[in-house]
């Protein structure tokens, strides 16, 4: 056939074509190449005589030059979309190429079979291009594939022999998803491009089920090992998916089904939710890297749980995460809170665990603000036993001895609020000595005790806050001074200070109006390492 083409075709610009095929990086402009490819495409569409020119396009599609490939992709999309439109692709079970030549097909059918084969090879090449090293190529390939998918949806390539069947290019989508969720390269850019298409309800529905299948397949193979790149890709794709909150919002479809559109699964919100849920659960049941845990937990409460049909299915995952300890526990709190608050989850020893995740690191992690916000919510209940509240206050105070000033500005009002809410905790700040126990005692509080009921916090006092009155930052010292007098009845608003950064703290002093006189050191400075106590000079020398 190729030979036939070279003889029979009316060649309009042979020199140019040769140029393109022989030396792509040659000085001829990209524009020329584009025109060239475009003209070929036009010719192919013009008449079946030039059908063989499609090979040229496919050849350019596999070339190395980025621009050429992009042009070719455009041309392909134009040609095959047009063909799909005209229904000039074979419908039904595709016979092999050789078989088609030999079998009793009409010329028309032979052409369609031929074209379908070209179409299939084009799709394969494009799927390969999805993992191309150049983003432009990947992106255009993705767009082209999606156009094909839309075209196929309108004009299905399979026989619709039974009425229950809904036409949707499932295979194509599955293939796209499989390629997107690469095991080796980070596809986050491409996935974010793909997100645009996820606006379409039916596509999203099928993508969700494709992801589930793909995850099951890939993770099943890995046998419990962690695949960071793959899982990252999956997470990126999944976190981009969100289900609309109401059925009436399901309007944007890629493929319109005819009569029984209403009964289509992709048109039902519940099915969406179920698919969404299954997708996530399918992903979460495998072992995840720690960073992935954190990422998931961060978005869990507001972009996963609300979209699930049964959020309680997440209980296992969340409790497991809560048991992990450290920052992950802190983050799991948020999801747990939603479940407890809205879905009636009864979590035994919740407060005990909360008590135990209070470690010095809570003041240093990135999610400090979120943690304290939640802890404030949890401890705002007025039905908590006094010993528990006292234990929390004491533990936080003890931990505050290692906290940076920004955290101290949160934790001090936090403790004060606890004491305000539970006036019987006032003994922590104010315990006038009685006759029988005049002897000053060691701090009876047991820091290592895991059970807040046993830690004897109520017998202690918050000497730590007394210590913090000598803190170097004036704001902290002032906040700590508050314990010298009875606390005011009004609770402090913690949410204002949750997000304070050290830089903001510094700015309070730095950005003051410059009118004030700046006090100066009166001891004459003579040398760099002397002056003050000269501690730097004791351990360091100039050279």
């Amino acid at each position: 056939m190729r030979r036939e083409r070279s003889t029979s075709s009316v060649n309009m610009a042979p020199a140019k074509r040769r140029n393109v095929s022989s030396d792509k990086s040659c000085g001829l402009s990209v524009k020329a190449a584009k025109i060239d490819v475009d003209t070929i495409a036009e010719r192919v569409l013009e008449s079946r005589k030039h059908a063989n020119d499609i090979f040229d396009i496919l050849e350019i599609l596999q070339s190395d030059s980025e621009k050429d490939v992009v042009c070719a992709v455009d041309a392909c999309s134009k040609v095959f979309c047009a063909l799909l439109e005209r229904k000039e692709l074979f419908v039904g079970k595709l016979p092999g190429e050789e078989e088609a030549l030999s079998g009793g097909y009409s010329a028309e059918e032979k052409f369609r079979i031929f074209m379908l084969h070209r179409y299939n090879s084009c799709v394969e090449t494009l799927l390969d291009h999805l993992s191309h090293e150049l983003h432009a190529v990947r992106e255009s390939a993705l767009c082209c594939l999606m156009r094909f998918a839309a075209g196929e949806g309108q004009h299905p390539l399979e026989d619709l022999d039974w009425s229950e069947h809904y036409s949707f290019p499932r295979k194509l989508i599955q293939a796209v998803v499989d390629n997107l969720l690469s095991n080796t390269t980070d596809n986050s850019l491409l996935i974010s491009r793909f997100q645009v298409f996820l606006e379409m309800e039916d596509l999203r529905y099928y993508v969700m089920s494709s992801i589930r299948e793909n995850v099951g397949k890939v993770m099943g193979k890995s046998k419990g090992a962690v695949l960071p790149v793959y899982q990252n890709n999956v997470f990126t794709l999944m976190s981009n998916i969100s289900v609309p909150s109401q059925e009436s919002e399901l309007t944007n479809f890629m493929v319109k089904q005819g009569a029984n559109h209403e009964d289509w699964k992709a048109a039902k919100l519940n099915d969406h939710k179920r698919a969404f849920e299954r997708m996530w659960l399918g992903f979460l049941k495998y072992k995840l890297p720690n960073s992935m845990y954190k990422k998931i937990l961060v978005i869990l409460h507001d972009s996963i749980l609300p979209h699930m049909s049964k959020p309680t299915m997440m209980i296992d995952f969340l409790t497991a995460a809560y048991e992990v300890g450290g920052a992950i526990s802190l983050l799991a709190l948020n999801g747990l809170f939603v479940l407890i608050h809205q879905h009636n989850l009864d979590y035994p020893d919740f407060y005990k665990k909360l008590y135990n995740i209070l470690e010095p690191s809570v003041f240093h992690v990135k999610y400090r603000a979120r943690f304290f916000h939640l802890a404030n919510l949890f401890l705002s209940s007025s039905h908590l036993p006094v010993y528990l509240v006292a234990a929390f206050a004491k533990r936080l105070a003890r931990l505050a001895l290692t906290a940076p000033p920004t955290a101290l500005l949160i934790v001090l009002p936090f403790i004060y609020n606890l004491i305000r809410r539970h006036p019987s905790c006032r003994v922590l700040l104010h315990k006038p000595s009685t006759e029988d126990e005049t002897e000053p005692s060691e701090d009876p509080y047991v820091m290592d005790e895991e059970d807040p009921a046993q830690c004897r916090a109520l017998e202690s006092s918050l000497w730590e806050i007394k210590t913090l009155q000598k803190h170097y930052h004036p704001d902290v010292a002032k906040a700590a001074m508050l314990i010298n007098t009875p606390l005011t009845a009004q609770e402090d608003d913690i949410s204002e200070v949750l997000e304070t950064t050290t830089y903001e703290l510094m700015e309070r002093d730095l950005k003051q109006p410059p009118t004030k006189n700046i006090p100066l050191e009166f001891e004459m400075a003579t040398q760099l390492l002397k002056g003050g106590e000269g501690v730097l000079g004791q351990h360091f020398c100039l050279f």
Partner: protein, 877 residues
């Protein structure tokens, strides 16, 4: 209707007053208005009322107005008063009379007196003939009376009030002439007048004499004044000694004298003891101030006086502190400048003595020396300022024989330098020689650099000492008192210098010697312009903190700040007090250090060295105020954790940025136990925080041990600092566990083991139990008392607490109400009066009728009687 007549005859007046006093004395006429309270200071107008009088007055008035109106009612004819100018208010009454008189005269002249030949008509005054009055010869002259006002002598009183007694006493001889009584009296009075006139004249003469004396005194004073003040007295005007200008001039002089700098006894020369005491007092005052600021109540105490300025008086040549001030004094009519040099010598002696004293007292030895040097330098600076100032004023008296001021100054600078140097170069003799050589090459004046590159160009290629000298000379030759723009230039110079210091620190290898030399200059500039310096340092801090914040936002952690930042922080601590409760520069700086110690992960020995450097800085910052810095303890315990061999099952938690385990958590583990034997403690060069080059494993081990010893040293220092904190044991708990359980098992050099046992002892000894917390005792709130609140009233009867407009409105309202009521009352009275009048009229009419009727009846009765009599007579007849 017509107004009541204004003019009243004298007689009428007299009668009126008579009756009024009579009435007032008549208790039946007087109505006393009872007062409820006696209010001090209030004048009462209406305490006594005369109802009868006022009623009759009102009645009269009505009769003249209302009644007339009433009578004129329904009457069309009118009485026209054609008297000349009767209703012309503009006309003077005298004019009126005059015109009327002329009119009358004219009329009379025209008609009657056509033939009257120059016959005097009688002139009258108040209806009395003037000719008659002239005969009286009344002597009382109003002018004389006014002259003798206030003069009260026995004679005079006797003459005026004594009646006849005077005559009897005074002129016994004249008594025979009883017939001339009237005349004698006249004479007597004349005599009296003469006497008083004489007295007056005498007084005048006395006054003039006094005046002359004053003038003389004035002139004398002027001559003296010209002696006292160098000013030539103003043009003397003796020829016309006007009193008033003279007086004013004199007053002016007096006042001027009051404000003039008086010649005071010069302050006595201070003995060295006194000087030392003063110095100590000053330091104590500064220290007290520092403590006050440390407690944090400084902000509330209002404006801070700039006491610190006194430490260096270069600012504008003006000295604030009293004891620094040299008073000018005369010595044999000349200024006492010549004595200065000798005095200086004394002072220096004094300083030396003082240093000994101070060492005894409290301060640390090494610093004391520096202090003294500093003080000395300062004093000399001060002296120099004085000299400059005075030499500008009076060239002739300058102690230095120089022609021009600028040169003069330079030489002095040189002199000053050479004066400073001996103190410094006591130890380094060769350095001094080098300096002298270099000084010979350097120019003496420098233009202030306009940009940073200017400064760099200026300092490029000089030795550190010369660089310092250049900066010092730049500063001197651009002193703010010399030209207008110099202040700004020097402020900029501080910024440039700071930048230069940073650049020196970033060079490789860092030129810290130069930085070290430049510190005094930075300090001096900072003392001159605290605000500009503060802002410059603040901007450095802001930039550094901002860049760190940005990296933190992106990555979650940041690299350790470079050496220049460390130098900046150290310089900050040198320039500004670190112990203040809140300080616009040092508080952010300390925050920055804390931030660096928590957010910068430690990945290499170099990082660790930098971190320890920051720890040292942090200890430096809080060493005086003993404030608690959690980040510091965290870092130190984390550092110790790095040296632990066995990371499993530690009994403490490590705080970020340290990790309990991981690749960088073993940084301080020794590779071989042998290396500790060859180790000896030495200081770490600051440049190691930039480029740490450790070629062999042995070197690395040595560096590790040095780091460990630094860390332990800092821990020990912290133990001392924080031993008073209530939670001391819990703060140092991780360190205690580390030292006692983990590091003690490891083989460490002896010195380190000693140090660690010392720390452990300190921690264990400090564990003192505390009492449970109680609130501070509050003053009980006093019960509400029911005694009236007494408010001082300054303006009686006036309403307070409202604005002027409101008060005005209130006043008008009140007035309106009063007027309204009054008007109502008047109308009622009017109508009552009218009714009474009408009734009177009716009664009168009725009476008239009755009378007429009776008359008629009477006449009828007489007629009847006559008729009857006639009839009877007829019958008789």
């Amino acid at each position: 209707m017509g107004k009541p007549p204004k003019k009243k005859s004298l007689a009428d007046k007299v009668r009126k007053t008579k009756t009024s006093t009579e009435i007032k004395n008549n208790p039946f006429e007087v109505k006393i208005n009872r007062k409820k309270f006696d209010v001090l200071g209030r004048k009462t107008k209406h305490d006594v009322g005369l109802p009868g009088v006022s009623r009759s007055k009102a009645n009269n008035k009505r009769k003249e107005t209302l009644l007339k109106e009433y009578k004129q009612k329904n009457k069309s004819n009118k009485l026209i008063d054609r008297r000349l100018g009767e209703y012309d208010a503009k006309m003077d009454p005298e004019d009126k009379i005059l015109q009327r008189f002329t009119m009358e005269r004219q009329r009379v002249h025209e008609k009657k007196d056509v033939y009257n030949l120059n016959e005097e008509e009688e002139l009258t005054h108040y209806g009395q003939s003037l000719a008659e009055m002239e005969k009286f010869n009344d002597v009382v002259n109003s002018d004389d009376e006014s002259e003798e006002k206030g003069l009260l002598s026995a004679e005079l009183t006797a003459a005026h009030f004594g009646g006849g007694g005077l005559l009897r006493k005074k002129a016994p001889g004249e008594e025979e002439e009883g017939s001339q009584r009237a005349r004698t009296r006249q004479e007597l009075i004349e005599e009296l007048i003469q006497k008083s006139k004489q007295e007056k004249r005498e007084r005048q003469v006395q006054k003039e004499e006094a005046q002359e004396l004053t003038e003389k005194l004035d002139q004398d004073w002027k001559s003296i004044q010209s002696l006292m003040v160098k000013k030539t007295p103003k043009a003397e005007r003796i020829d016309n000694p006007e009193e008033k200008p003279k007086l004013e001039e004199y007053d002016m002089m007096v006042r001027e004298l009051g404000f003039d700098m008086k010649v005071q006894p010069s302050e006595k020369m201070k003995t060295p003891e006194e000087l030392a005491r003063e110095e100590r007092e000053k330091l104590q005052k500064l220290e007290a101030d520092r403590l006050r600021r440390m407690m944090g109540d400084a902000g509330e105490e209002g404006v801070k006086s700039q006491i610190h300025m006194s430490a260096d008086d270069l600012n504008d040549g003006f000295i604030l502190d009293k004891h620094d001030q040299k008073t000018l004094a005369y010595q044999d009519g000349k200024w006492n400048i010549e004595e200065e040099s000798a005095e200086e010598g004394d002072e220096e002696d004094g300083d030396e003595e003082e240093s000994g004293e101070e060492q005894e007292s409290d301060a640390e030895e090494n610093e004391d020396e520096d202090d003294d040097d500093g003080e000395e330098e300062k004093e000399e600076d001060g002296d120099e300022e004085e000299e400059e100032g005075s030499s500008e004023e009076e060239d002739g008296h300058s102690d230095l024989d120089s022609e021009q001021e600028s040169e003069n100054e330079e030489t002095k600078q040189e002199e000053k330098d050479s004066r400073v140097k001996p103190v410094k170069s006591l130890t380094k003799e060769e350095l001094k020689a080098q300096q002298e050589a270099a000084k010979a090459e350097l120019p003496y004046t420098f233009a202030a650099p306009e940009s940073y590159s200017d400064l760099r160009g200026l300092l490029h290629g000089h030795t550190p000492d010369n660089q310092r000298l250049i900066v010092a000379r730049t500063q001197k030759s651009n002193h703010p008192s010399l030209a207008v723009g110099n202040k700004l230039k020097l402020q900029k110079l501080f910024g440039f210098l700071l930048e230069y210091v940073g650049e020196l620190a970033t060079r490789s290898p860092p030129e810290l010697t130069t930085v070290d030399k430049l510190i005094p200059e930075l300090y001096a500039l900072c003392q001159m312009f605290p605000d500009a310096a503060g802002q410059a340092v603040q901007s450095v801090l802001t930039d550094a903190a901002h860049s760190m914040e940005e990296t933190l936002e992106v990555k979650g952690h940041a690299a350790f700040p470079t050496l220049d930042m460390m130098i900046y922080l150290k310089v900050t601590a040198l320039l500004f007090p670190t112990s203040d409760f809140r300080h616009p520069v040092t508080t952010p700086a300390l925050l920055y250090i804390g931030q660096a110690l928590t957010k910068c992960p430690i990945r290499s020995l170099q990082d660790l060295t930098t971190g320890l450097g920051f720890c040292c800085l942090a200890v430096d910052y809080v060493s005086f105020s003993k404030r608690f810095l959690p980040e510091l303890i965290n870092f130190l315990s984390g550092t110790l954790h790095m040296a632990v061999e066995d990371k499993a099952a530690v009994g403490y938690t490590v705080v970020p940025p340290f990790r309990p385990s991981g690749k960088s958590s073993d940084l301080l583990k020794l590779s071989s136990a042998e290396s500790q034997k060859s180790w000896s403690k030495k200081s770490i060069p600051l440049s190691d925080t930039q480029h740490l080059q450790l070629s062999s494993e042995l070197d690395r081990d040595h560096h590790r041990l040095t780091c460990l010893s630094t860390c332990l040293g800092l821990v020990e220092r912290c133990c001392q600092l924080y031993k008073d904190l209530t939670s001391f044991t819990y703060i140092f708990q991780p360190i205690e566990i580390l030292l006692s359980k983990h590091l003690s098992t490891q083989t460490l050099p002896e010195s380190l083991q000693e140090l660690s046992s010392k720390i452990l002892n300190a921690i264990r000894n400090a564990a003192a139990p505390h009492r449970r917390l109680v609130f501070e005792k509050k003053k009980p709130i006093p019960l509400k008392l029911l005694t009236p609140k007494i408010v001082e009233v300054l303006d009686y009867g006036k309403k307070r607490g409202s604005t002027r407009e409101e008060r005005e409105k209130e006043r008008l309202k009140h007035k309106y109400k009063k007027e309204f009521k009054g008007a109502l009352r008047e109308i009622r009275k009017d109508s009552r009066f009218l009714a009474r009048e009408k009734l009177g009229e009716v009664m009168k009419r009725d009476d008239e009728r009755k009378r007429k009727v009776r008359e008629l009846f009477g006449s009828l009765a007489t007629q009847e009687g006559e008729w009857k009599a006639l009839k009877r007579r007829k019958r008789k007849m």
